[in-house]
Symmetry: C2
Subunit: 388 residues, 2 copies
């Protein structure tokens, strides 16, 4: 029988829950209601790719005192039973009459007095993973108990990674680094981009990824149109810049970084853009300190690009990383989140290289009190060229 | 530059939208608001793995008349611009002050008169992929316009696949079938389950999958504890039954089926259970007709198992399939959805083989007027044995 042990000792999860409960106390919350894969994995260790099925909702309740309670479809009872939780309540889902809502309402009513408040992530970068009509029913069933936004309560805890978590993200980065080193084995002029994407995913698995949750990229003269596209059938051409950006997963933790390659000799435009991106990153790596804000890092990366004659692309220039491909904060002019030691972050400057054309460059780091520690193997100093 | 062409001709999407608009008319809806990867892929052809990032919401509005309008983060403008849509409105996300909500409210207000109703999937198997607090803001901004449940409106259209879609799902099933045929190359006693999972994903990619969104499975004497677990480090043992269940993706369309293998000679229990599962499936394949209900198929599979001395496991015994790993309807005693020609379905009987131990068996089919047409290559008649 498959005996999946927890990825971390139970104490790791107890520590997380204690931190959440301290935040709940500060906000006067009697319970947290969690519904997403990352929040549930974070508090329980429950790891499955079955989230890919949208059929069933899953709930974890963090009470003000004591261990979390899982209210889940019975199909997950065996796997949840192999985590550190002991109070696991199940129903046969999907049930069109009552898909766990009575069980959830009863469990929340036990944990929360009639005048109590229940925290739920409702803010930026969150969503509620359950049917909206069922949430309306739940809200009415639990009144006068009220639901309030607990986004910050979750984020302030999750955004600072433990050393155990940092080791896991470093492991994912190391795997992706080895796979990127093998790109010259299979990327060459004439090969369809779809085949390059396929071979890169195989390389990630061979190098130790449990699975590959994300791969995007592009190829074109002096850059690419965007950074979120899947591969098309078109072949790589001499003179292209190829970019691959991956979120490979090991033990539930993501890396998220990209690499660029010139197919044949790189153009001056591509070489200059690459150098500007790399040097702007180098500057930010040297200057990063806990105590800066997310928007400060954005400004730093933009200034670094402009100093080298490059035009920053719009959008965010990096973000948090860990249990999902991207986490808060966002390196934009608007995000004033303080950067704290223990945050795992991506630095992701992008610059415009032509009409509708950009290049991007990305590294993963953990922020320490005194500066950045790289988790991804640093990209080469010069744009690597693959003989065409 | 990466020129991603649409997977289907634009007419395919126009036909889908026309069907949705007919359903909207019947329900008196002036617009549909769509937020999930599958609903947006279905109506626009927009395919990206960037949904893996929870940072940004994405919106598509289907008006009562005319083509859909995309209201999306600017990072997606290039890729959405390569679909058939022409009205694409963007904002710089994530924006903590207003993450697209004003733009979305204005766009909906153009499409929907003040007394009009906006459809939103709110029912079973749905969720709203945007921050709940932003939805509350949107609801207030658009009042007196009201949001009503449009789950059925979407499901009655999406659940009947076009021939073009059926071809795509068949292609995914064929890829997975070739990969399953190679399992004896890498599954043997002494190999850790994690390595078998890794090699199987590599085989899926080598056989043509664009990516592998789902893999679960288990191994044990006479069966496994559940069907949703990732691999652990434990080695396969002589006498195990190994089960692998995959959702591999080609051109955005999923397969979803499993296969069982005995490591060394199979026990009588495992052989008998396998035969009962396969024969119950055979009976359902022969008896399936459009016009039956989902619950009828559940009853048929249970009766087929019991007739052969097997005890059906709880939970659903199959479901819809296509743009996500699982879709409605569900083969449970409670789901009365009529089965219609063009539905792509999984038949997935499970039976109890011991304490906390089950075996499952799964095939993918398309329902035709006169019966089931297999999309997955039929599982072997007898439980295949891999020499230990």
């Amino acid at each position: 029988m498959t005996e999946r042990t927890l990825i971390f000792p139970a104490q790791e999860y107890r520590d997380r829950v204690a931190l959440l409960q301290a935040g709940m106390d500060a906000q006067g919350l009697r319970a947290l209601l969690l519904t997403t894969p990352a929040d549930i994995f974070y508090t329980t260790g429950f790891l499955t790719r079955f989230w890919e099925s949208p059929a069933r909702p899953w709930f974890v309740i963090v009470p003000q005192v004591g261990d979390p309670v899982a209210v889940i479809p019975s199909i997950g009872a065996d796997l949840m039973g192999r985590t550190w939780l002991h109070d696991i309540r199940t129903w046969d889902a999907p049930d069109p009459r009552d898909d766990g809502i009575s069980l959830l309402a009863d469990t929340l009513a036990e944990a929360v007095p009639a005048q109590g408040r229940i925290g739920l992530p409702m803010g930026l970068e969150t969503h509620l993973r359950m049917p909206l009509a069922d949430f309306d029913t739940l809200r009415k069933r639990l009144a006068p108990r009220g639901f309030v936004d607990a986004t910050a309560c979750l984020q302030r805890v999750r955004e600072v990674k433990s050393e155990a978590e940092i080791d896991k993200i470093r492991a994912s980065c190391t795997i992706a680094g080895r796979a990127f080193a093998r790109v010259p084995e299979f990327a060459r002029a004439g090969r369809p981009l779809a085949e390059v994407f396929r071979d890169f995913q195989i390389a990630l698995l061979e190098e130790g990824a449990d699975w590959v949750s994300y791969l995007a990229g592009g190829a074109g003269a002096d850059g690419y149109g965007d950074v979120i596209s899947p591969a098309g059938p078109q072949p790589l051409q001499r003179g292209n810049v190829l970019m691959l950006d991956t979120g490979a997963v090991k033990d539930g933790y993501f890396c998220d970084f990209d690499r660029n390659f010139a197919i044949g000799p790189a153009s001056d435009t591509a070489r200059r853009a690459y150098a500007a991106l790399r040097q702007a990153t180098e500057g930010a790596l040297a200057a990063l300190r806990s105590g800066l804000r997310a928007c400060d890092l954005h400004a730093m990366l933009c200034a670094g690009l402009e100093k080298r004659g490059a035009t920053p692309s719009g959008g965010r220039l990096g973000h948090g990383l860990g249990l999902t491909l991207t986490e808060w904060p966002s390196f934009t002019p608007l995000d004033e989140t303080p950067l704290r030691a223990g945050m795992v972050l991506t630095l992701e400057p992008g610059c415009i290289t032509g009409t509708g054309r950009i290049m991007v460059h990305e590294e993963n780091i953990v922020l320490r009190e005194d500066g950045a520690e790289l988790l991804s193997p640093r990209a080469p100093a010069d744009l690597p060229e693959i003989p065409a």
